[in-house]
Amino acid sequence: MEIPFAITLDVGSSRSNHTGSWRVERPVYVDRLPPCNDACPAGENIQGWLYYAESGNYRRAWEKLVEENPMPAIMGRICFHPCETACNRVQVDEAVGINAVERFLGDLAIEKRWSLPIPGSDTGKRVLVVGAGPAGLSAAYHLRRLGHQVKLVDSASQLGGMMRYGIPAYRLPRSVLDAEIARIVAQGVEVELNHVVHDVERERIDGKFDAVFLAVGAQLGKRVNIPAGDSSRVIDAVTFLHQVAEDDPPLLGRRVVVYGGGDTAFDAARTARRLGATDAVIVYRRNREHMGASGDELEQALGEGVTVRWLSTVNRFEGEKMVLEKMALNAEGFPEPTGEFEELDADALVLALGQDTDLSLLNRAPGINITNGVVSVESSMMAAPSGIFAGGDAVPADRTATVAVGHGKRAAHGIDDFVMGNDRSPKVRHGLATFDRLNTWYYADAPRQRRPELERIRRQSTFDEVIGGLNEDNALFEARRCLSCGNCFECDNCFGVCPDNAVRKLGTGERYEFDYDFCKGCGICVTECPCGAIEMVPEKI
């Protein structure tokens, strides 16, 4: 090159100056665990499936969802959504309506007849699943995905367990329940109904099963000793709801008292109201803050004309008079009797005081440890070394359908390890994507979308579904409210805000990488990352 007058050096690019040597800390991309995923008892990758829903790819979103949970339309109705309680968006405006979007995807899949992933290739192993509730169905599905043969038995005449016999139809329409169960059975699950297992060890050996998953639920309504003149007027809530589900409701009269403060109590009271009770009164010994039922369920029940007597216990039930005793909470928040009584006109008493599980089928199984009426299990859900696993309401845990679905999956993986001789190394959980790691400036203001509710008059007389679904417009909107906590959603902020062009964009789905030759370690990308997916780590010196 001809060099001009008074110039002694060629023009060079600043790229020969590797400013990366200035750095004492380096940014690194990370994936953190979103609080919704962390809170999901079924272990769903919620942020993961919302990511696909955001772009309108509902099929892919649903497929991602059913990798963990094969019953999204059911869960989108009856799950108590701890994900929304944990959602970081609560601190911006309101939680993302995860449950509503899940239901939208589940309903869409039923409408479009999407099928579950093809079962795994046959391993030749046989697994007996006892109980076809959420835990048993979930286990059957995951076992089929792993290639094991599954025989699913249940003592009832239809599949679904408590989802059918405990949860009223106005919360979970039977068409939805049937559709999602049929889809699981179509995975090649052998089903035997009206089959009561009396001795699980005998069945395991006779049937040449390699493992057994016990998901027998908690079907026995707890009784308390209440002096009652006419015991035929006292029924437990499990039996009551079961009879209603079988279309054979008992005659309770016009004034029904339900004793208890959990979801089952509310289900019973709301069901009684629909069966024609003019007064459906819940009697609960503690106050609203301590009740077991969800706030949504309380609001809906009150809206249907159910009334609640807080801080009361049923003392006795004579003729058509029920005597209640008033309670007071002591310093520890426990109710104590006050000695004050009041009377209430009543035709029937429904006891919703919790349930016990019938574990007599385990009597001859060696190595089983039953404590407080439930089966002790390892983290793999294994209950006995002969290959008996247990889950759902029969083991110590919160008694919800979502927890049961999670148990089913975990047990399926535990059984897979057991029968195949694998040792599944425990999944490394990422650190939690906490709110303080987010930069919420970047998220557009977006109010939560509401699901429609059935008008009250129809809720007092019919079993029509109370809560409606989102349509595609507001489901998409709701999905896009996700902050994608802790997981890159390719907003290009890091690529754009680097003063040194030290971020390379790798293309859709491939995210980014740092050019450490030039990154000076200023940390702007970390501060401006909306979702907290970049961290500064000290350089090794």
Binding site: A444, C491, D492, N493, F495, P499, D500
Partner: protein, 337 residues
């Protein structure tokens, strides 16, 4: 800012890019084909706002004229850190002459292009606040007055940072610099009018005057593109925080630019022919101490001997800006300050 209907795409238009937006709705910076007018390896400090602002503005200008650009640079940080002989970070035709004459040199380049019949080649002149409001002001005013076909961009970091943080006429009141020490009853820079260059530029009735910050990329790019659609003298004033001179953390650069706008201390607006046509609304108003307390140049207003009286005077500047440019739609957005 823009007249497009508001859509909701998770991050809307706040982030640099957005996989849910069409390509033509994304920023220039989100595109891997962006010009990268100023390349890696420059010697700007960690977290330099000016290096960022210059790339944002010039890449947008490059896109809007198919890469036919000549840039003229005044002396200042941007010149020094980008072009230590014989290296340069510029990937565009780039000229540097003196500290004070960048507008005049740009006028000359524009005239030369016109004579050569190359009016497709657009001229951008750029300088820091020192080269704009102090040393280059005579030349700039002349360029405005003659309505020469130049887009002049001032990267305002509120002082002479390259030479060791001295005061300029754009340094805000109470700020500590090497020449406005923290002594006496009114520590730091004096309260006065300073030079509000966007308003001085508007007083020349030139076709386009706008302000922007490095915190709102969509807005900045929109203003560059609007300026490039027009001919004649145009002026863009970009706030670029300076970690060195402001005594702020290097990772806070964009955050500070955002707070400058959200407090009202730096009004973001555009004007055509001397009339304000659009002012960007404050989205989440914050009191000025949230902005000031992150900067060591204001450290004497806080700490063991706080000066709430001085903070209140700075707040009143912000309030006056909010009133002057109508930066708050609703009175119910008021916060206690």
């Amino acid at each position: 800012m823009t007249n497009q209907p508001v859509h909701f795409y998770q991050v809307g238009s706040f982030a640099v890019g957005n996989r849910l937006l069409r390509d033509d709705q994304r920023t220039v910076q989100s595109n891997t084909d962006r010009a990268n007018s100023i390349d890696s390896g420059h010697r700007a400090c960690q977290g330099c706002g000016e290096a960022l602002g210059a790339r944002y503005a010039l890449d947008a200008a490059m896109r809007s004229c198919d890469g036919q650009i000549v840039a003229v640079n005044a002396t200042g940080c941007l010149e020094v850190f980008s072009t230590p002989y014989p290296e340069t970070s510029w990937r565009i035709p780039w000229l540097h002459s003196l500290f004070g004459n960048a507008p005049a040199v740009a006028t000359g380049v524009a005239a030369a292009m016109r004579v050569k019949g190359r009016e497709d080649v657009r001229v951008v002149a750029q300088a820091g606040d020192g080269g704009t409001v102090d040393i280059g002001f005579g030349c700039l005013s002349g360029m405005f007055e003659r309505n020469d076909d130049v887009l002049f961009i001032c990267y305002d970091n509120e002082g002479y940072m390259n030479t060791g943080v001295q005061r300029s006429a754009a340094t805000p009141p109470a700020a500590r610099t090497a020449t406005t020490d923290v002594v006496g009853p009114e520590p730091g820079n004096v309260f006065g009018q300073g030079k509000d260059l966007p308003r001085l530029a508007m007083a020349h009735d030139i076709p386009y005057v706008a302000t922007a910050t490095v915190a709102d990329l969509h807005d900045l790019e929109h203003k560059v593109e609007r300026a490039m659609e027009l001919r004649g003298a145009r002026y863009l004033h970009v706030l670029v925080p300076c970690p060195l001179g402001w005594g702020s953390a290097s990772n806070e650069t964009i955050h500070l630019a955002r707070l400058a706008k959200e407090t009202g201390l730096f009004p973001v607006f555009e004007a055509e022919h001397g009339v304000v046509t659009n002012a960007t609304q404050i989205r989440r108003r914050v009191p000025v101490q949230d902005y000031l307390s992150l900067q060591r140049r204001y450290a004497h207003l806080f700490g063991a001997h706080p000066r709430p009286d001085v903070v209140a005077r700075i707040q009143s500047i912000a309030d006056a800006n909010i009133a002057r440019y109508g930066l708050l739609d609703d009175s119910d957005q008021e916060v206690s300050v």
